[in-house]
Symmetry: none
Subunit: 121 residues, 4 copies
């Protein structure tokens, strides 16, 4: 899986890494149990500080998306918690986006279609 960093984005680099790995898991590009590159390898590959990659991995670990052990590096967790709900923070963000879609004159049907496409990715 290839991680692409936009150094000019307002989104911090460690979050860009975290987000892309989460989306990789979601899309199936990263499968359960799959080995992730080491912190050192990934940081060299994308040309950034190891601390930044490390921070991304730590967040993914604390969120329950990956497991790390000293010997094997990081792996996608086999059984990710199926809370069947969004975090409070994600709900807030989603609420804001829904609001902006409404103001922009999108129909709920168009919105559902848009998320349908994203769902399929």
């Amino acid at each position: 899986m290839i991680i692409k960093i936009n150094e000019y984005s307002d989104v911090p680099i460690y979050l860009q890494i975290r987000n892309q790995i989460v989306m990789g898991i979601s899309s199936g590009e990263l499968t359960a149990g799959e080995q992730l590159p080491t912190v050192r390898a990934l940081s060299m590959e994308i040309g950034i500080n190891t601390m930044t990659v490390s921070k991304a991995y730590q967040i993914l670990k604390s969120e329950g998306y990956i497991l790390t052990d000293r010997k094997n590096g990081a792996r996608v967790r086999m059984e990710i918690d199926q809370s069947k709900s969004l975090s409070a923070q994600n709900k807030d963000e989603l609420r804001r986006i829904v609001s902006e879609a409404k103001i922009a004159g999108m129909s709920k049907a168009d919105f559902d279609k848009l998320t349908e496409e994203m769902w399929g990715e």
Copy 2:
């Protein structure tokens, strides 16, 4: 309309203000043409600096949500642009949230129901 600031949030205060006003417009709590509190009044009400409120208003103005004039302060714009689409940034955010919903085991139907509730607010 009451604006509530979460001082522990990662979201900057000026953005919290901006977001809540956008959501107020979306929900109909703020109607087209409605007068917003003056920069000074709002800053005193929520106990923050006028510069911070002013920044929120300037962003809302640049986004076309409100209008300001020197005499009367700020008002919700009568005719907000109906682009019928989301900004690239909002799409990216939405894509990330959809991914996390999928991983958490939400069904698309549940997701649609959640956004339906938000749509109704």
Copy 3:
């Protein structure tokens, strides 16, 4: 001549009045010697403070575009100075606009065509 004020413009009202009268003279809609409405009449017509209209007239007078006398109110001056050049301030503004046209990829020919249209107004 009808003066239209945009109360939400960043351009101060007195300047909007001043600019529209100058453009009226330029286009020929206001002819040399033509009587302008009194400060009181114009302020009532457009629903603003007399001080604001008065300020616009004072500027036009100081710039040599109009003449005022207590008996007859204001008139467009018969012989406006033909300096055949722009003020330093207008040159600065024009220089900035030219720069932005260049960056936006306009050709000099397109720019000339645009000013040609404006010239004809």
Copy 4:
């Protein structure tokens, strides 16, 4: 590139900075990808507050002229949008300037010559 602030100008300092950088890009004095001074460096150099410089940079960023990243500061963007047109606001300004040129007795040829000189800068 040297930025000069006119403290007696009606143009706000942050706009003077913004305008000079835009003109620097237009003239080629600032090339695509070129590093701009840091907010701190520029504010010290011209003896004004960091907030004021920061505001100028944020406007340039929102207009798509520059990019900022946390590590390296600000750079001139490589691919600036080529809308091939002026903003409504710039058109209004240009229309006013054309009017004043006409009243001052400039010929269209002289006006074109003047903008030609500016174009070459």
